[in-house]
Symmetry: C2
Subunit: 411 residues, 2 copies
């Protein structure tokens, strides 16, 4: 059983909006054992929507379309589906009552524009939308089941899970995803070690993606049952761990280095404080994006000036003068200073030149010093990171987290 | 002249990665006057790539494909293009020399896997990649020009602008995009004021998208010349400003509230310091994402504990005890305290409950106090933001920036 996802909207084909619905639907379908063969994206022109729906239904068993169900004149998906089916559009009484109720409940007047949202092709069924005014449509087109959903992610996701997934029935196949996060190596050096696993094209597939130095190894296992898929996944992950062990920083679908470090701190009953210069708060933001981080994160100082480094982090004025703010000695004093100020077990200091300007021959753009301090001492790494301002900053923050992870794991 | 964009990668069709390349390419093509008819996305299976390239070339004059040019065995785009063209793959001598040089310059050993990246179909041309090891390919397939580029956004973007756009020639039509950022209103209240402009379907199109309370109004103008498109854009923007003025926080393709606030601070010779609790550094990160922010941003304190609020921000212990850390009084003292500690003109304090847990009946998840302090006084806003942890945090940071913007503009 396979699927094609169709995204509808001129904001998508003109690049004003990035399509996140297709990724969500793909993950959900694959976990349900339905392979996603392709995504199509078309603008709001009715003939293009008709053609995309027809072609999708020719090559897939299931077609999920999103977008184009709003109340305004540029929302053409209802009419396009009716045209593709050769059917008439009629008003769905229950949908109309639900849209009326939606506005009544919120004490808003119902716009005349919203009435069109209750329309559906005569031989189709409406899919209720608990969070908005756009009902979806469930229909058949040729041999395929086709579902149209609104483009608003929150509405689309709830409707897909509640009303579409249960109608897809047993597909007989399950596709399980696993993800391993690596840091501290190049993508091709990593790939060389698992080249044979990546080359295999059977039920177990291994691929990699890279972003700001973080390399994700994706594993997908297709099987007849969830138990069998899990067994396959366990086997291949055992092999991947044996080959990539030193670089693996986190495992799991929603895994991140910041969550892994947080778990190490929490389980060890330890605390952390951060002193950031070029990252400007990014490291603190990443750490506190993890719910429950207040258990181990004490806080930090963003010391964007020399005065802040001196007054809030006790960095020595003479060192700032002689070595400059971007130096090993200042990174070290920032990490020590913030650890002491916050009375934490660990202190991190980051100072560098994120660019695009501010670099010199001896201190080029991308140069970052990352320091990690605990009661026993302070360790500093000097790096020259590639990429733009945000990439340099992100690599600096990830490097700090990875130094802390390695220190806690005694690596 | 029209185009189809093809994205290649099983991480895309299984939803593990969101495709941002298609949006970038769409914007660039439309500005060059080339209408984007559709996006196709397929996995790494060679037959699917071949079919997608063939179908794209049947329906468009220009096809831009990205992804699948890496060094690993799951990178099939080179072979698929050769198959679609009925051509042989040969090694491009110049590409091979450039890949070798790339590694030599960085003092890395060249992996044998990278050699395959120098391959191209015999009747095609290699497109140099200044930032990585994957050259692109320029070829003809049927009546269409087809270009394949690597999937890594930084490499793809530079190659597209430098080597692909100049080969696309004059298309005769120009599509110009403009963007206006609004904050502080609901999307439907905003849409009501410009409903007539949004309904028009001619050469000038107006649409909206919303994210974390920030509403972007997109304008696109199609015309025979850049001058004519500019005139149309100026007219419609004049109208939009008249209707939405109070909510507009920034204008421009890359505009952001943080850059607009930075420009106000810079031009006024004023400085800012931040005290963040629930946002954990996010506000500092946003401010310092703007190059040159060290001219006006002094730094801040992430006070994730009561001790940090007392010791680094001089928040009164009795107030923390009686009102709690999430209170109007504490936000006020944080803003005042950080302004004084950093000797800045402006101080911002943010304290709230980002969730998912930690809420109570009187202080629910989403409750945030944002304070803005200057020499003349301190103003506090109390808000209950919808959404998950990251959405609440982002709305809080944006609210702080918008309060500062309004204060500086005397609104």
């Amino acid at each position: 059983m396979n699927a094609v996802i169709v995204s509808i909207g001129s904001e998508l084909t003109s690049g004003l909006l990035v399509d996140t619905n297709s990724a969500f639907l793909s993950r959900e379908l694959e976990v349900a054992g339905i392979e996603v063969a392709a995504h199509f994206t078309v603008g709001d022109e009715q003939p293009r929507i008709v053609a995309a729906l027809r072609r999708a239904c020719e090559q897939a068993d299931v077609v999920i379309a999103s977008g184009g169900l709003g109340p305004t004149p540029d929302d053409r998906t209802r009419a396009a589906l009716a045209e593709a089916m050769g059917a008439e559009l009629i008003e769905d009484e229950r949908s109309f009552a639900e849209i009326e109720a939606f506005f009544r409940k919120r004490n808003y007047p119902m716009s005349r524009l919203n009435r069109v949202q209750a329309m559906r092709p005569a031989p189709a069924e409406a899919i209720p939308n608990a969070n908005g005014t756009a009902p979806g449509i469930a229909a058949e087109l040729g041999e395929a089941k086709v579902f149209t959903l609104p483009g608003v992610p929150g509405e689309m996701r709830a409707m897909f899970r509640e009303h579409v997934l249960p109608r897809l029935g047993q597909a007989g196949r399950v596709i399980l995803h696993r993800r391993v996060c690596c840091f501290g190596c190049g993508e091709s050096s990593l790939a060389e070690r698992i080249e044979d696993l990546m080359a295999a094209r059977g039920d177990v597939r291994v691929g990699t993606t890279a972003s700001s130095g973080l390399i994700a190894v994706h594993v997908s296992c297709a099987a007849d049952s969830i138990e069998s898929a899990r067994r396959q996944a366990d086997d291949i992950l055992h092999e991947i761990r044996a080959r990539l062990g030193e670089w693996i920083v986190a495992e799991g679908e929603d895994a991140s280095l910041e969550a892994a470090v947080g778990e190490l701190l929490r389980s060890g009953g330890q605390t952390l404080a951060t002193a950031e210069s070029c990252t400007g708060g990014m490291l603190g933001e990443m750490i506190t994006a993890v719910p429950g981080s207040s258990e181990y994160y004490l806080g930090g100082v963003v010391s964007y000036t020399n005065a802040a480094k001196r007054d809030l982090l006790d960095v020595d004025a003479a060192t700032l003068e002689s070595r400059g703010a971007v130096s090993e000695a200042v990174a070290r004093q920032m990490a020590d200073g913030v650890r002491k100020r916050f009375a934490g077990d660990w202190g991190i200091g980051i100072t560098g030149i994120a660019g695009p300007s501010g670099g010199t021959e001896s201190k080029p753009v991308g140069l970052v010093f990352v320091a990690l301090s605990d009661r026993e001492g302070t360790h500093v790494e000097r790096q020259i990171f590639p990429g733009d301002r945000q990439a340099v900053r992100r690599r600096a923050a990830l490097t700090a987290l990875n130094m802390l992870r390695k220190a806690m794991e005694n690596l």
